[in-house]
């Protein structure tokens, strides 16, 4: 493992994580921060877009209900997804082929980061109170230039802290993944593959279906599942 290249890759992960975290809430909100987009993008950056596509889809399903309604701060799916994606993709690049066991373990290791990300977001909102007070001072002094700077301070702080969170989590997670993976064999490996191939996709589908507000939407899901499944099974003869 080349240390300098790994350090460069971690730098890229930090940049993608920080930028995606800004897109999620503070700037643009173009949905680049959605797992479905950011994980394949990370895959392109780290040289394995195919794994990124599959993993991004699964993570998108798992966090489909994470929506920023009003003042509500939901679990931060972006930092969790970038960290999980980085663990799997870096494992593939430096350790070995990322099979179902690898991404199942990575998701199990990285999923709680969505709660850590939410905690960080709440802390940042509290810290932004200082910016609001400084905006009041700028208004009282009639200095628009002073007010102009404040959003950039908020964005800069959010970028740095989210980038740090993602890169530290990805590096620690990768280490843990490499250690644990060596000990996974036999029935434990089969159990993890079952979790990754059945349990996680089914949970993701349930999360996504739980936000479909119309009963007819659920019925349509059942019908389209039956039609496509029949076609697949018939195609196999």
């Amino acid at each position: 493992m080349d240390g300098s290249i790994l350090a460069m890759d971690l730098g890229l992960v930090a940049t993608v994580g920080g930028a995606a975290a800004l897109d999620r809430r503070g700037a643009f909100q173009l949905m680049v921060s959605q797992p479905l987009v950011v994980v394949p993008a990370l895959g392109v950056v780290l040289g394995d877009p195919q794994t990124g596509l599959w993993l991004g889809s699964l993570l998108q399903l798992l966090w489909m209900s994470s929506v920023l309604h009003g003042a509500n701060v939901p679990p931060n799916e972006t930092v969790a997804s970038v960290a999980i994606g980085a663990m799997v993709l870096l494992f593939g690049k430096y350790v070995g082929a990322p099979d179902a066991t690898v991404w199942t373990l990575a998701i199990l290791i990285g999923a709680p980061l969505s709660l850590v990300g939410r905690w960080l977001e709440v802390r940042l909102d509290r810290a932004n109170q200082v910016l609001a007070d400084r905006a009041d001072e700028a208004a009282r002094a009639g200095e628009p230039a002073a007010l102009d700077r404040l959003p950039w301070l908020g964005l800069g702080r959010a970028f740095v802290l989210n980038a740090l969170l993602v890169v530290v989590a990805a590096a620690l997670g990768l280490g843990l993944l490499a250690v644990v993976y060596d000990d996974v064999r036999g029935a434990f490996a089969v159990a993890l593959q079952t979790v990754g191939r059945y349990l996680m996709p089914a949970l993701g589908l349930a999360v996504a279906l739980s936000i479909v507000r119309r009963r007819r939407g659920i019925a349509l899901a059942a019908v389209s599942f039956a039609v496509v499944m029949t076609a697949i099974l018939q195609g196999r003869g």
Partner: protein, 272 residues
């Protein structure tokens, strides 16, 4: 809204309009609308920051101070719909600067409209367009369309950017009547339909995931994979409807699965 006699309008700025260049600057700044969100007054810094190019065109000195201060009060709305409120607020500020409205008019307008606009934006963008686009793109990726995430971005941002640009300029053109203009698009009706489509695409995604499981090393055989997938999804859906957190279900069921497989293998050794 009743008009009142001119109050303390800056005489030098009385006949000014902000001009299109300033409006484009406001549009650019609106992309950073939530950059300094805080718990006490939510998006107030973002709103004032976006309004600055217009306010500095309309006011000088004390009048500018007062204008900045009135846009630093509590504000919380949907970030995309806020552009319409920014446009309308600029229109109102022009009238305030000309002395045709009292300064409180723009504050009253913002207070009245931020809630309804947030509801429209949350319902249309967050709860409908995003799940629909994502469900479509996931079905696309699983069926081998590698550019599906890119198509999701294009589809989503077509609506997103249109709403921002149209909202700002329509807000500026129609002022307080901007809501009537936005109502013409019947966004709630689209929201309803997008839920049906999202359901249909999720069904396709489920079938493709079951197919993926059938091809994997974790295949059970005898075509039982789709049955297991549906069974698990229904159990999870029922648990989620009872407000169980996703992470609890993930770890709880993963631990149960590992325990079951390892326990059974200890009793009836089949796996080496």
């Amino acid at each position: 809204m009743a008009t009142t006699a001119p109050l303390d309008a800056d005489a030098g700025a009385a006949a000014r309009t902000v001009g299109y260049f300033a409006l484009w600057r406001v549009l650019w700044r609106s992309f950073f609308f939530q950059s300094a969100t805080n718990y006490e007054r939510m998006q107030n810094v973002g709103f004032a920051y976006c309004m600055l190019p217009a306010l500095t065109r309309l006011y000088r000195g004390d009048a500018l101070q007062a204008a900045m201060t009135r846009h630093l009060e509590f504000f919380n709305s949907h970030p995309y719909m806020a552009d319409a409120l920014l446009g309308a607020s600029i229109k109102l500020e022009e009238q305030i600067a000309a002395g045709r409205l009292p300064p409180a008019a723009v504050q009253r307008f913002k207070r009245c409209m931020m809630g309804p606009m947030a509801a429209i934006g949350d319902s249309f963008f967050w709860s409908s367009l995003k799940p629909f686009g994502a469900a479509w793109a996931i079905a696309g990726v699983l069926s081998g369309i590698a550019w599906a995430p890119l198509a999701f971005l294009v589809l989503y941002n077509m609506f997103h950017l249109s709403m921002r640009v149209y909202g700002l300029f329509a807000g500026y053109q129609y002022g307080e009547r901007v809501v009537e203009q936005l109502n013409r698009f019947e966004l709630p009706r689209f929201s309803d339909r997008s839920h049906y489509l999202a359901g249909a695409f999720l069904g396709i995604g489920a079938a493709l995931l079951a197919d993926d499981a059938m091809r994997s090393t974790a295949a059970i055989g005898d075509g039982l994979e789709p049955v297991l997938m549906v069974l698990l999804a229904v159990i999870f859906l029922l648990c989620l409807k009872r407000k169980m957190p996703m992470l609890l279900l993930l770890y709880g069921f993963a631990a149960a699965c590992v325990g079951l497989v390892c326990g059974l293998n200890a009793l009836f050794p089949l796996i080496g």
